[in-house]
Amino acid sequence: MGTGRMLRVYREYWRINILTTLEYRANFLVWFAFTFVYHGSALAALWIMLARFPSMNGWDFRQMAFLYALWMVAHALHNTFFSSVSDVPDHVRDGEFDRLLVRPLDTLFQTIATPGQVFPDELILALATFVAACIYSGVRIDLVFVLFVPLIAIGGALIDLAMNLAISTTAIWFVRVDALRWIVAQLEQEFTRYPLGIYSRAVRILLTFVCPFAFINYFPATYFLGKTDGALGLPPVVGLLTPAIGIVFVALAYAFWRFGLDRYQSVGH
């Protein structure tokens, strides 16, 4: 399959998404309000905690706002470009997955490029929040920052994608994976709001090496804010490894996905 053809299909896919968004402008506003309240209440909860208790493991509210904003950008990137990967279990269950398999395009690519109503609302909000958090936290903005932040955001989105893909692949054997997905979503969305050092050692290792969500925001924020890692005693510069970690984990998840595809047996419809 030529890369050129894939690019043409992908461009067409985005054209459909954007047309859909323009068609449902009221929905766009509702989703925007949604996203705003979700992230707003999460930040408000952090603010309330840190108004009463000035610091958490040596992190104050300004630094935690930066931690949150960094996660938000990666998370929003993933949701905008790869969220349809989490539909695989549904496709397996209702037999739709069989149709993807017989088409002359890569199955994962088809999954990612399935048109839906993809609104860029979260990404817009995430970028705005990130800019605000950079100013508010007083993080030092130098050449390394400017060069690495986009790469780290993409690397973070790839980490999300890798975990999403791995869970979706398990659906090939187990069909219903809601509970597993839910627990991993908790680790990704809620555990990343706090410095890694507050957790017990097993959870720190889990979030660093198994589900490496700490590389989405904790390690990069530790580096950029000039803090020391009190969780695993790693040198702060590991925070710049996020893009590499993202690529490695996506490769592993993709290998697992291929392994699963080879063993796929339809639920039989």
Partner: protein
């Protein structure tokens, strides 16, 4: 149609049947059950770690020492198994697909029917509290108050449940006019978690914010029973606390009834 309905003798049997059918329906979703219990445990672990870290490096508030706030969080999460259910979702769904019309033909009170259905669903989920509690006790210590406090807590919990029921009912009733409420509902759920004191006790909030959150109905859902449980509301304050909850039940129930009547009337106007 609603105006001309003849008054019927009230019979309990149909509502009991509705409630037990709802319980059977919920029992078929085994995977969701596992997810609910797992969610309580994961969140409980998170909250324990968060509060422990905050208390470790700061002066702890006199009202709520660490063991009290962990107890608070654990009980809040267990309450959430019951409170976070939208019992009257069926109302919205049936308005959406039009099947509400046949409900009006049934020889039962429609709002009471939804209440029975929702209560069945809630009772099933309440059964989850037992395994969730047992597993929670494996890694946190939950303080047990006196029998009298527990009894008042239970009463306050029921009143909180009714406040939540009416808030959901009002939101679902708005489907009479807008037909799409799920967006608003999700927003209200997130706000309730925060403003009702499910995640963070309201007494931890900055003082200026406390003045606002304590007069909102959300405080009557989670905060009041929980503060009774951990003893922040002492026995001398029980009557007043329950009284405020009761006022909210009556006020919101009144608003819901008015909305229901206006909405049901409107359905007749539309002609179905």
């Amino acid at each position: 149609m609603t105006g001309s309905l003849p008054r019927r003798r009230f019979r309990l049997a149909p509502y009991v049947a509705l409630a037990s059918r709802a319980m059977a329906r919920e029992a078929t979703y085994r995977f969701d059950v596992f997810g609910s219990v797992a969610s309580v445990l994961v969140r409980l672990y998170l909250l324990k770690m968060v509060w422990s870290a905050l208390y470790a490096h700061n002066v702890s508030p006199a009202q709520l020492p660490l063991h009290a706030i962990i107890t608070y969080s654990a009980v809040a999460l267990l309450m959430g198994l019951v409170m976070d259910i939208d019992q009257t979702r069926a109302l919205h769904d049936r308005l959406h697909d039009g099947t509400i019309a046949t409900d009006f033909l049934k020889p039962i009170s429609v709002p009471l029917g939804f209440f029975a259905d929702g209560t069945g669903e809630v009772l099933f989920h309440a059964a989850l509290i037992v395994p969730a509690l047992v597993l929670s006790l494996l890694f946190v210590h939950i303080d047990l108050p006196s029998a009298a406090t527990l009894a008042v807590f239970a009463l306050s919990f029921v009143l909180g449940y009714l406040v939540g029921f009416w808030i959901n009912f009002i939101l679902n009733c708005s489907a009479f006019w807008t037909l799409e409420v799920s967006g608003v509902q999700l927003i209200v759920t997130w706000l309730t978690d925060l403003l009702g004191g499910e995640i963070i006790p309201l007494v931890i909030f900055p003082l200026a914010l406390q003045k606002i959150v304590f007069v909102l109905p959300f405080a009557a859902m989670f905060s009041t029973p929980l503060l009774i449980y951990v003893g922040v509301i002492p026995p001398a304050g029980w009557a007043a606390a329950l009284g405020v909850q009761l006022v909210w039940v009556l006020v919101l129930g009144g608003v819901a009834t008015l909305l229901w009547r206006a909405g049901a009337h409107r359905i007749v106007v539309q002609g179905g």
